[in-house]
């Protein structure tokens, strides 16, 4: 591996790390707000029809955030033409897909 391609490689990874960090931070923030508001409404016994969807939305935001992180990694590695890691990340995504599929069957 030449020095030039290596430093280019490192820069791509650094950028990816920062973007992933921002996605995760944003997801947690959104989930926190939804959960806090939902829980407050729940505690003050406002219509459950209002508080319950908020709580579920917060929990789902929490669950979706890491999935989004994996999807963005696929795109990041593909843009860097790093096919091996594109494949690796797709494999992780496939396992998560398997989980959601198995969850659907549970219902």
């Amino acid at each position: 591996m030449s020095h030039l391609s290596e430093s280019h490689d490192a820069r791509t990874l650094d950028r990816l790390e920062l973007i992933l960090g921002r996605i995760l931070g944003g997801g947690v923030f959104l989930a926190t707000v939804l959960l806090a508001v939902g829980l407050m409404l729940w505690a003050f016994r406002v219509e459950y029809a209002v508080s319950l969807p908020l709580l579920h939305a917060g929990l789902i935001a929490l669950i979706v955030t890491p999935v989004l992180r994996v999807i963005v990694s696929v795109v990041g590695f593909a843009l860097a033409r790093d096919w091996f890691f594109t494949l690796v990340t797709l494999a992780v995504l496939a396992v998560l897909g398997g989980t959601f599929w198995a969850a659907m069957l549970q219902r």
Binding site: G21, L59, F85
Partner: protein, 273 residues
């Protein structure tokens, strides 16, 4: 009654979050027994809540440490194949096991964790000069301990994959993050510096939990208001714990908490009878 249990869960989340951050654990090890033994929740309900808290902690910690090159994104991705498979398998298995069996398993794993915690050493792995080739999965970062940039290479990849699968499996079955199993293994056997192992593990536990939680969700094991309380508590607690943890590096704390874990495991065995 329910409002009281929400407060109890939130307080428990804060405690679990503080302890988790201080010890570099997810906090689930403390949250699950609090929910089952303290609140009398069925094991799977406790595990589901704990896993949601693990996801929140993972995202928060990773967002905080991003940009310092401590997270090895590539190593994390490869190992995530193993942890998510483990999580999926663990979750599917958990749905077939009884409260008693799961409590027994939790008791056994907490004993193991207590032992690992007492023996945990910060192995100084062989690092190379900055200019050295890190190999396809290694990396470089700024080491505060050494005051310079260092390079590390990954050894024994099959061991790392095996331990990751096991950690994912335990995570899915019992609702704990599994970092306590991966981090020492990566550090001692696979040549990953401690801080990198911990940061990369924090990245992985979130996606690992996501490979399990939808199963519990669909099975009706997620109690929304208790989960929300736990997540908010753990987030606040781990933030506080991280803030304190930089200063206080108390060794006695580990010994104390190993004793707590041993007590927890005894209670779990009693619960399982």
């Amino acid at each position: 009654m329910t409002a009281l249990s929400v407060l109890f869960v939130m307080g428990g989340g804060v405690v679990a979050g503080v302890l988790g951050a201080l010890l570099g654990l997810g906090g689930g090890v403390f949250l699950v027994p609090l929910l089952t033994l303290g609140l009398g929740l069925p094991f799977r309900h406790a595990a589901a809540i704990s896993l949601l808290a693990v996801i929140a902690t993972s995202s928060m910690v990773t967002a905080g440490s991003a940009g310092r090159r401590l997270i090895n994104v590539r190593l994390g991705m490869v190992l995530e194949i193993a942890t998510t498979l483990g999580g999926l398998a663990g979750g599917l298995t958990a749905l077939t096991l009884s409260h008693q069996t799961l409590s027994t398993l939790f008791g056994i794993v907490t004993v193991l964790i207590a032992i690992v915690m007492l023996h945990q050493r910060n192995e100084l792995v062989a690092v190379l000069d900055e200019a050295a080739d890190p190999g396809w999965l290694g990396g470089r970062f700024y080491s505060y301990e050494r005051g310079r940039h260092v390079t590390y290479r990954i050894k024994r990849m099959p061991v790392a994959l095996g331990m990751s699968f096991l950690a994912g499996n335990v995570s899915g079955l019992l609702g704990i993050g599994g970092g306590i199993l991966k981090v020492p293994a990566l550090n001692v056997w696979c040549g990953v510096p401690m801080r990198v192992a911990a940061a990369t593990s924090s990245l992985m536990i979130g996606v690992t939990a996501v490979a399990t939680v939808p199963l519990y969700y669909a099975h009706g094991d997620v109690v929304p208001h208790l989960a929300a309380a736990a997540v908010l508590g753990v987030l606040a607690g781990s933030r506080a714990g991280l803030w304190v943890g930089d200063r206080a590096r108390a060794k006695w704390l580990k010994v104390l908490l190993a004793c707590v874990l041993l007590a927890v495991s005894i209670l779990m065995f009693v619960e399982a009878r």
